[in-house]
Symmetry: C2
Subunit: 297 residues, 2 copies
């Protein structure tokens, strides 16, 4: 009945003996509650958010539905409490997915010195400080025969600024692993009235105003189905917010760290739409991108 | 001919034997070039910016005019090279001034570990990390008799989030040092089609798009003349960008750190206009604000 999520591209992975999320056939996603304050922070966020009348419906749709908690036999063979969430990939056949951790800073103002040092090191090693976000993982569906283009997460995290530019183009290409990706799906996935860019702009307008939450170290998840995007079914492209273990109260201040990173991301996506052929490197980075085509999972 | 700028509220101050900026009677501001890479970075910025055809006029007006450099006898009695800039206060009689350092992070991605540690400590001790900016200093003209309300810079830097909220209200009050400031000038200074809020929104639109410069550790300077603001002369309120010693190239990426802080500042200013009577503390901070009325200079 429970299985390892087939389309997860970042975060903890379940395996035999290792704790990680599970999904079932009814469209639910079971996320083990981290045993420290992170787990309780995420649980409290979902519970508080579910009943918060200040969240407009046009914003609520960006969040996974929360079904409560459940103690269950987990992937490591032990009983653990889990968050029960909507499985965002359950209605999809071959989802093309990207996970982007937003914010140039992944620690909150009240974090400990050790935690700050750890996060800052990671933020400097990845593109977070430079871009205001980092790509944590992605998979791009190619075909039944070839499966997914899915570069290894460690390589994705080592991306340079130019690698990130190229990944946003690969993400909407029918030949993602090619040295000259075609961006064929960009207008239908990034563009259109309800495409990814329009959804990001909707989120941006909310973040310019909302002072309820600071979404520290959260991710944006992009998803679409290649078959539908090729036919021009724009509503099939989705943006979701996930991972709320480090969320804090806004206390009257906007989340300028998330908003700045979101604006930077919007600029990158806009550039793919405005100028799809400009994938030239600006910093003389002429490394070949590391490509792996993962045939199925 | 040269004198110490009478209306400087932050930054290095000149005095007998101490190096700092000077002004003359012709409206020029002489800023000693810092002897290390900061001085050359600021000079290079001004020189490059002056001739950069990519900067629209509506944005150029936010920057001091640059007149070159000049070696001159400085306030410490020695010869030093100086940047020759427009004296932003020269046309003003009793300017009400606020200096706000923008950005939750005041170091660039390529800074040294020591410099990062120093900046991060300061960003955490002030409101920078929490708000995306910190007030570095201010003076509010009260009357000929009472002079200026000018809290000490060290106290301003120690402001809590609620102190900052109150300072934005004191800044546009005819009784700034009062425990219940009246915000009488808010509509004419923050509001109006060319008031401070409108100017900040113009800057924001540019920062959402421009990828030329990253304005690390820069300040926004607000200025207005009380006598004119009381009569409703809106164009008298000015926003300027100053202090470019830590500017870096944007290399195709927006300045998400500055933009996030700017959006946070815009939210604070908007709230004074929308809801002028809400200066309640949110974090239980009931300290009396430290008040000093500085009669002249």
């Amino acid at each position: 009945m429970f299985k390892i999520p087939p389309h997860q591209v970042a975060g903890h992975h379940a395996s035999n003996g290792t704790l990680g999320p599970l999904v079932d056939d009814s469209g639910r996603f079971y996320k083990p509650l981290q045993g420290d304050e992170r787990g309780s922070a995420e649980f409290e966020f979902y519970e508080q958010f579910s009943s918060n009348a200040e969240i407009p419906d046009r914003i609520r749709r960006f969040f996974p539905v929360f079904y409560g908690t459940r103690v269950m036999n987990a992937s490591d063979g032990l009983e653990h409490p889990h968050l029960v969430l909507q499985d965002l990939a359950s209605s999809r056949t071959n989802p093309t997915v990207m996970d982007i951790k937003i914010g140039s800073r992944t620690f909150g103002p009240d974090a400990s010195n050790d935690y700050i040092a750890k996060c800052l090191k990671r933020d400097r090693e990845t593109t977070s400080i430079r871009l205001g976000f980092r790509i944590s993982g992605l998979q791009v569906y190619v075909s039944e025969e070839l499966g997914f283009y899915k570069p290894h997460r460690d390589l994705v995290l080592k991306s340079s600024v130019d690698d990130v530019k190229l990944l946003f183009r690969r993400y909407v290409s029918s030949n993602p692993s090619d040295s000259n990706p075609d961006y064929a799906l960009a207008p239908n996935v990034y563009g259109r009235p309800n495409g990814i860019l329009a959804q990001l702009l909707e989120l941006k307008a909310w973040f310019e105003d909302q002072t309820i939450y600071h979404f520290c170290a959260c991710s944006l998840l992009f998803m679409f189905e290649k078959a539908m995007a090729s036919e021009g079914a724009g509503s099939n492209a989705q943006v979701k917010l996930i991972d709320f273990a480090h969320i804090t109260e806004g206390r009257g201040v906007i989340d300028h760290n998330f908003l700045g990173g979101l604006c930077s991301l919007i600029k990158f996506i806009s550039e793919v739409l405005e100028d799809p052929d400009d994938h030239k490197t600006r910093e003389g980075d002429t490394r070949e991108s590391t490509i792996s085509v993962d045939n199925g999972h």
